[in-house]
């Protein structure tokens, strides 16, 4: 779809809508035909007709291209318009765009997934991919942080993943006495997680500050920067590296990213003026 006509959105009808948290919901589409093939980490531009477009990561199963899934937070004009759509309504979709998580490179070793808040959505396809080929990976670990227990995404799946051979540690920033899990910041989980730095590929997605601290925590555990990948978020417009809205110094996040290795951005990740 994107290679032949990167500019024209394809209308797709919402087949299912699931509320995840107070402000976050998941839409499922059935594109038909061969479906929409994507690699974990890629995104689509979703067009709310008459309102505008927003870049949204694909959060579904890459082994099931017949089903397209996006988890969206109602946070801006476009996503607010999408949030008001019911099952049967249409949006325009173009994509998929961008780089992918290095799942293939992680095969034969350990994979460490570090997600914060909505950052779990772009990483969920990695988890599906790992589960589909579980024997290809040694240790598989998910460290997931959220603001509070009520803001955790995919809570049923977290349990299913745990019982399917993925170690899942969940931490929240704030909780009442009824929360039995840990309370704190997700980078603190990195301090305690069992990992072999020489055979670990880490994939980190969440708010940029959380990613910066996570990258530092991984470095402190001895994981080389080229084995750590993050997903950058910038304001994307064209999604094909032409308009420059998403430029991050020499990197066009839409085309060269959103997934980049930490060594590639090591000199600019902590710089406030970029």
């Amino acid at each position: 779809m994107s290679a032949s006509d990167p500019w024209t959105p394809r209308p797709l009808v919402i087949a299912e809508r699931t509320r995840e948290t107070a402000d976050t919901f998941t839409l499922r589409f059935e594109p038909g035909g061969d479906g929409i093939r994507f690699a974990p980490g890629q995104f689509n531009m979703i067009y709310a007709f008459g309102v505008g477009e927003a870049a949204i990561s694909i959060s579904g199963d890459p082994t099931r291209p017949g089903t397209l899934v996006h988890t969206i937070r109602d946070v801006g004009t476009v996503t607010h318009a999408i949030a008001r759509l019911e099952v049967g309504a249409a949006v325009g979709i173009r994509g998929p765009y961008g780089s992918a998580w290095p799942v293939a490179r992680a095969r034969g070793g350990d994979v460490l997934i570090v997600a914060g808040g909505l950052g779990l959505a772009p990483l969920r396809p990695v988890i599906y991919d790992v589960l589909a080929r579980r024997a290809d990976f040694a240790r598989a670990t998910l460290l997931y942080g959220a603001r509070s227990p009520t803001e955790l995404l995919y809570t049923r799946e977290l349990e299913a993943w745990r019982s399917s051979g993925i170690e899942v540690d969940v931490v929240v920033d704030h909780a009442g006495a009824d929360w039995l899990g840990p309370v704190g910041a997700v980078p603190s989980l990195i301090h305690d997680v069992v990992l072999d730095p020489s055979r670990t590929i880490a994939m980190v997605c969440g708010p940029e500050v959380m990613m910066r601290f996570s990258v530092r925590a991984l470095a402190a555990r001895g994981v080389a920067a080229d084995r750590v990948h993050v997903s950058l978020e910038r304001n994307m417009k064209c999604a094909v590296g032409l308009c420059g809205h998403c430029q991050y110094r020499e990197t066009f996040v839409c085309k060269d990213g959103p997934v980049v290795s930490a060594d590639r951005i090591a000199t600019i990740f902590d710089r406030r003026e970029i």
Binding site: H174, G176, W179, P182, G184, A185
Partner: protein, 152 residues
């Protein structure tokens, strides 16, 4: 006692302590077990114990009128619990409740302070570790305070 010395030197906080230093400290230490729901510290009470957590998780809580109990942070194996014993007036600032069965080394704080006053090399070594621990805890609290996952 020999077992307790070994346990002290294996804990993250006291790793690399010399055998001689561990022997010096061991008379202040006890290995204790707590059931889920037991309190290890109570806000407002004298800070009499300093813990090295070995197993299980402890919630640091504060009671907020109108909101109930709020968990500020949780600590687990390898962490230390209780910093107030080191700083006058030696009174606990938070409640600490076991949310799982907990095994911890508990130091008698007066005994520990006396030992550190008697051996300044050891006092410096432990003060440095406490500072490092407090620094990392502060870093975690800063991240929590940023409310990273809220709407930007």
């Amino acid at each position: 006692m020999e077992g307790l010395e070994r346990i002290l030197r294996e804990h993250d906080f006291l790793k690399d302590l010399s055998l001689e230093q561990a022997r010096f400290l061991v008379s202040c230490a006890r290995n204790l077990h707590y059931a889920t729901g037991d309190f290890l510290l109570h806000e407002g009470t004298d800070a009499t114990a300093f813990y090295l957590l070995r197993r299980g998780r402890v919630a640091l809580e504060i009671h907020v009128p109108g909101r109930g109990t709020v968990e500020m942070e949780s600590l687990g194996p390898g962490d230390v619990l209780g910093l107030s014993w080191f700083i006058p007036p030696y009174r606990e600032q938070l409640d600490a409740r076991a949310v799982e069965p907990v095994v911890a080394i508990a130091f008698d704080c007066q005994c520990l302070r006396d030992k550190l006053d008697a051996d300044h090399d050891l006092g410096y070594a432990l003060a440095r570790r406490l500072f490092e621990h407090a620094y990392h805890r502060l870093e975690r609290v800063r991240l929590q305070r940023l409310d990273l996952y809220g709407v930007q």
